[in-house]
């Protein structure tokens, strides 16, 4: 390819590129932009409410979820004899949201409403084999032998220790 061909191509490329980007916006362009700007100003204020409302709703849900529930069942209740005697209900302060829950220790009060157990309907659970039928093991009671008796210890006479002579030990 000679120089004149290259120049010709360069000019043709310039012209093609210039033509592809030639053009001006239509006369109503400014008016269209300003109309959208004016519309947008109102829309901005209106749309500001939406995220604020959503944030408030999320915060409310978070507080409700984190708050201790009245029917929450403690996992490890601390039971004191005094509580049982007085018929108190003991709730553990560290109840968590895990699925394992034990009934509350309730003495002398009405039974509390328990949450229904959540059954895992997964296919893996459905494929689990039936539990084996095994007779319970019987364990004989241990025979109690004669108790071991220990003679009481004789009291030891107190030892008498003479005080040291401070001068006699010196070289």
């Amino acid at each position: 390819m000679n120089d004149s061909a290259l120049d010709r191509f360069d000019r043709a490329i310039d012209d093609a590129a210039r033509q592809l980007t030639a053009g001006d916006p239509p006369p109503h362009f400014r008016a269209a932009v300003m109309a959208r700007v004016g519309k947008r100003s109102g829309a901005d204020r209106r749309w500001l409410i939406v995220p604020l409302a959503a944030a408030a709703a999320l915060a409310g849900l978070f507080v409700i979820e984190r708050a201790p529930r009245s029917d929450e069942i403690p996992m490890r209740p601390v039971v004191r004899h005094g509580d049982i005697a007085l018929g108190r209900t003991v709730d553990a302060p560290f109840a968590t949201s895990t699925a394992v829950k034990t009934p509350a220790t309730t003495v002398g009060t009405a039974p509390r409403r328990l949450r229904p157990a959540v059954i895992d309907p997964s296919p893996v659970t459905a494929m689990a084999p039936a539990p084996l039928a095994v007779a319970p093991l019987v364990v004989d009671d241990l025979e109690s032998g004669p108790s071991t008796r220990l003679d009481p210890l004789q009291p030891i006479a107190p030892l008498a220790i003479a005080p040291l002579d401070p001068e006699g030990d010196q070289p």
């Binding site: 390819m1 000679n2 290259l6 191509f9 012209d15 053009g23 239509p26 362009f29 400014r30």
Partner: protein
Amino acid sequence: MTDEHLIARARQGDTAAFGELVDRHRSAVYRAALAALGSHADAEDAAQDAFLLAYRRLDSFRGAAAFKTWLLAIAWRQAINRRRGLARIWRRLVEPAWSGGAEAPDVVSTIADGGPTPETIASDRELGRAILAEIRSLPAKLRDTLLLAQSGAYSYEEIGAMVGAPVGTIKWRVSEARRVIKQRLAVRGHGGRTDER
């Protein structure tokens, strides 16, 4: 009144001042969008979106670069985002220039110094179509840079700010785009035609 004065007034809620900024820069923004999108309708939408976004982000303009450069960068991003959703972008790019009467644009005829013969005109049209096809098939980075540079509306610095590349890279891309096009034209057999003149 300078752009900075208009920006200050627009920030205080003077929409007429922003309208003046729109008037000043609408052609540059529009042509950048046109270079990316190839369709006048899409370019207008993208240019409007760019001005709208610029108005909303006016407080974030720090003046580190010229307002026009900042605005062009916004416009280019808007246009590129729009282009990603357009499947027929390059068909649209070519159609406005070449459709309607099937008359080839005056891309090559200006080259002819003497009176072009019908044979020359036909050959130039063929070359024009070949060049457009080659521009269309360029990698996007080369194609975008070539079109922006050859539009004559932007400096290399402004193009660099738009596409996010150093000036040296912009110059290389323009040169590389030309080289690739000429090489492909030569392969098509357009190299020896000038000898006929």
